[in-house]
């Protein structure tokens, strides 16, 4: 995993940091995508929560591999915000650690013609100051 340095960092509507979500949004400063995992049932959990939504157990943070697969995607063509120009390739990525561990993100360095559901991707981070936003790049060839 590495920080993005060779692309412009786009404007984003970033979240307010809380005790529950801080590690997820800032871990990229150390090159880590930190995800909660239940200490009782071992399930990984996104989005960040106060306790495991399945068993109620306590959650602790662990770094994940940053590898995943495209679950679904869309290219947005309409300008909904004055500082966020289209097009942008939005995707839901399933992280390799668990088959329902999903996050919404942007795919960088490719267009939707290059990808399909199942395409293998790897995290990179955009430096927004305190927040390091996780985006994903294509690895290998899309189907």
């Amino acid at each position: 995993m590495s920080a993005l340095t060779d692309v412009d960092v786009p404007t984003r509507l970033l979240p307010k940091l809380t005790d529950a979500n801080r590690a997820f949004w800032t871990g990229g400063a150390n090159g880590e995508l930190l995800v909660q995992r239940c200490e009782a049932c071992d399930r990984w959990q996104l989005p960040p929560v106060d306790s495991c939504p399945v068993c109620g157990g306590a959650v602790a943070l662990s770094p994940v591999s940053g590898l995943g697969a495209v679950f679904t995607y869309t290219t947005n063509y309409h300008q909904f915000h004055p500082d966020i120009p289209p097009p942008n390739l939005i995707a839901i990525v399933t992280l390799d650690e668990q088959d329902d561990l999903r996050l919404m993100t942007n795919l960088v360095g490719c267009t939707e013609d290059d990808i399909a559901s199942g395409s293998a991707v790897r995290v990179q981070f955009e430096d927004h100051g305190e927040i390091f936003y996780p985006v994903f790049e294509l690895i290998g060839q899309g189907q």
């Binding site: 979240p15 109620g56 909904f80 939005i90 839901i92 999903r102 942007n106 939707e112």
Partner: protein, 389 residues
């Protein structure tokens, strides 16, 4: 059968303002128009109205003051039905005897306006005791951070997944847009009434792939109102009473994209709850008025309601014959939000009642339809109503 909280309530009155693009008419004027029409249509005067409830623009206090109503009931009681929660709350209130006649309105403004998803309207408290599941909007921060700033982006991804799992095609979505435009041509209030072809549909500018302009509904100004009355008002109701048979809603667990059964949505939960409260089945339906904020949402509702099987919505609507006014199950007979205008789930309700009354004029479904389903919502927001004549 589980509890049946709204069963037997009737829709006694209907009102609708001018619907249009940038009409210049204020939201309060539109509200007063639809409200007065609905109250008169129910054979009532403002003095008879004991409750007022809404969601979104024009607060109850402003509407009630202008109408000269002092409502004792101002909403609450059913908070899981999305945009239809105020209707369901009103139905529950009249069945429980907390009010005899309740005015429910929904006023929308094309530019601006307010809408808080899941807020439940005036006086509606959030559901309690639903456990520790992910909330209806638990993942919204993540969604916005990904620059997925519009529902069209979120639902485009559901649609893409459906296409990849089931082979659903863009053309199949297009039949919904074509069907709606064909019905809108017969509805003088509809905003867009000129026919469109498949070529028009496929050639429209892309908005969020695979969805294009004709997959999106039409923002408008307008107001729709209904009067919901106690069951025993039916004999005195000047118009044929439309009866609430069952309602369904959803807690929205899983948010926008964390449901295990994605691309299924809260509509699956709402439909299951509704059918659990009635002996009727999907084969009893004569008309379907289903939410179409985006074409794909109607596919989701067709499948959620069991009108067709999972993944079969595309083939079901293909050719737009089965869903035509003279088809097996006429769909969005007023033109839908896609062509008539985005009244946020209230035109589907209004139209179902108009059709069940037999008042739909040129677009009236033949053979006296008796059972209609109304639905609204997408993603973690969903509500549906089963209505009978």
């Amino acid at each position: 059968m589980t509890d049946t909280p709204c069963k037997g309530a009737i829709v006694s009155g209907l009102g609708i303002s001018q619907i249009g693009r940038r009409t210049g008419i204020s939201h309060l004027d539109n509200t007063l128009h639809s409200a007065r029409e609905a109250i008169a249509d129910a054979g009532l005067t403002p003095a008879d109205i004991e409750g007022v409830t809404t969601m979104g623009d024009t607060p109850v206090s402003a509407a009630a003051a202008a109408l000269g109503i002092e409502p004792v009931y101002r909403g609450g009681g059913f908070s899981t039905g999305g945009l239809l929660s105020p209707v369901m709350s009103a139905a529950k209130a009249v069945v429980e005897g907390r009010a005899r006649h309740v005015l429910v309105y929904r006023t929308v403004q094309m530019m601006g306006g307010e809408f808080v998803p899941g807020a439940g309207g005036d006086g509606d408290a959030p559901d309690e005791g639903k456990g520790n599941l992910l909330d209806v909007m638990a993942d919204i921060e993540e969604v916005l951070a990904a620059n997925a700033l519009s529902a069209v982006n979120w639902l485009a991804m559901h649609c893409r997944r459906h296409m990849e799992i089931y082979g659903t095609t863009k053309e199949q979505l297009g039949w919904l847009a074509i069907n709606s435009r064909r019905n809108a041509a017969l509805n003088p209030r509809a905003v867009y009434r000129d026919p469109i072809t498949m070529q028009d549909y496929l050639g429209a500018r892309p908005v969020s792939s695979p969805l294009g302009l004709f997959d999106c509904d039409v923002p408008v100004d307008g107001s729709i109102a209904v009067v919901v009355s106690a069951p025993d008002y039916a004999p005195d109701c000047p118009k044929p009473a439309v009866r609430v048979e069952a309602v369904g809603g959803s807690s929205g667990a899983g948010g926008w994209f964390h449901r295990p059964d994605y691309p299924n949505m809260a509509s699956v939960d709402a439909a299951a709850e509704m059918w659990s409260r009635t002996d009727l089945t999907p084969s009893d339906l004569d008309i379907a008025e289903l939410y179409d904020g985006f074409t794909y949402l109607t596919f989701a509702w067709l499948e959620a309601l069991g009108i067709c099987g999972d993944g079969e919505a595309g083939p079901y609507v293909e050719g737009a014959t089965r869903i035509a006014l003279d088809g097996e199950l006429p769909l969005n007979t007023y033109g839908g939000q896609l062509s008539a205008g985005r009244m946020h789930g209230y035109w589907v309700l209004h139209e179902a009642c108009v059709q069940l009354r037999g008042e739909a004029g040129d677009r009236q479904v033949k053979d006296n339809p008796e059972v209609a389903v109304v639905s609204n919502g997408g993603g973690p927001i969903a509500g549906c109503l089963l209505l009978t004549r």
